[in-house]
């Protein structure tokens, strides 16, 4: 049993209105010194058995087709 984490973030060139809204809220609440916020997604998967290279490749495939949309998003995958 392993936990695989996939972080998905909008590509830097894509506008992130949620991040902007949070930045605005920080300002209004007086939290200073934050110059940028971006919001993405985090997936935690419980994977049965051992995660060897072949399995990892399969999971990367899953992330690239299902969890992230490569047109607008980048992702990172790691075993925890």
């Amino acid at each position: 049993m392993a936990r695989v984490v996939v972080d998905v973030m909008l590509k830097p060139e894509i506008l992130d209105p949620q991040g902007q809204a949070i930045l605005g809220a920080c300002d209004r609440l007086g939290f200073e010194g934050i110059s940028d916020v971006r919001q993405g997604k985090r997936f935690e998967m419980e994977v049965d058995g051992e995660v060897d290279d072949a399995r990892l490749e399969e999971l990367r495939q899953l992330a690239a087709t299902v969890l992230a949309n490569p047109v607008i998003e980048d992702f990172e995958l790691r075993v925890e």
């Binding site: 909008l10 506008l15 209105p17 949620q18 809204a21 299902v66 969890l67 949309n69 047109v71 607008i72």
Partner: protein
């Protein structure tokens, strides 16, 4: 014989009944298609209706793309033979399936928007807009939370150059869409994705106008004009 237009129901589709009604009002015959059946029932055209397929939990349209019915639809659409209209969630599914370029993201306001919306038809050269004249303004319904169209600048330029921007919002994009894009098509003009809802504007009693009917009469004319299309290999 009149044209048969398939309307796909995914779990979570909501405007499938409305799309079928619009097909009927236009004088064609609606045919119910089920997400889990890899069978297009030999229809002349297909509508992917609005709604929240599979709850839209991951990303709008991301899971619907893998439905068995899409395995039949994607090659037929890619070949240019099968007219496909994706409305709202259907547009999102078409982008996720890479039948159309770009992606639809959260509205700039971060809120769902429901309103009557003026839209300009930019291209009458598709299977779904042949009945409009280019530059014609229509009043339809916009209702979506993730209708903000984004694509790489080269993609946008390419869409403009090849006349594949099908519709634009009048008076600025309420959702932040790049270049006010409300709808686009593929290079063959058979696949059209549209964020606003023409099927909610086929009758003045229940919609803001009857301006949306043109999408459905256009495909009817298109289907009757083209020779019958084989349903693909197999």
């Amino acid at each position: 014989m009149t044209a048969r237009v398939g309307v796909v129901t995914f779990p979570g589709s909501l405007d499938d009944g409305d799309a079928a009604r619009a097909v009927r009002v236009a004088g064609a015959q609606p045919v119910a298609l089920w997400h889990d059946d890899a069978d297009l029932k030999g229809v002349d055209a297909v509508i992917l209706p609005g709604g929240f397929s599979y709850g839209d939990y991951l990303r709008c349209g991301a899971i619907a793309r893998f439905a068995p019915v899409m395995a039949e639809l994607i090659p037929a659409a890619e070949s240019g033979s099968l007219p496909v209209l994706g409305i709202c969630n259907g547009f999102q599914i078409l982008c996720e399936s890479h039948l159309l370029p770009g992606a639809l993201t959260r509205n700039r306001s971060l809120h769902f928007i429901n309103r009557q919306q003026r839209v300009r038809i930019e291209s009458a050269g598709t299977a779904w807009t042949g009945g409009y004249s280019s530059g014609q303004e229509i009043l339809v319904v916009l209702k979506s939370g993730e209708g903000n169209y984004v694509a790489a600048p080269e993609t946008l330029d390419d869409l403009e150059r090849t006349g594949r921007v099908v519709a634009r919002y009048e008076g600025g994009a309420p959702n932040g869409s790049q270049r006010e894009i409300a709808g686009i098509s593929n290079e063959h003009g058979n696949v059209v994705g549209l964020m606003p809802h023409p099927e909610h504007a086929v009758d003045e009693l229940t919609g803001p106008s009857a301006d949306g009917l043109g999408f459905f009469t256009s495909v009817l004319a298109h289907a009757t004009a083209s020779a019958p299309v084989p349903a693909g290999p197999g």
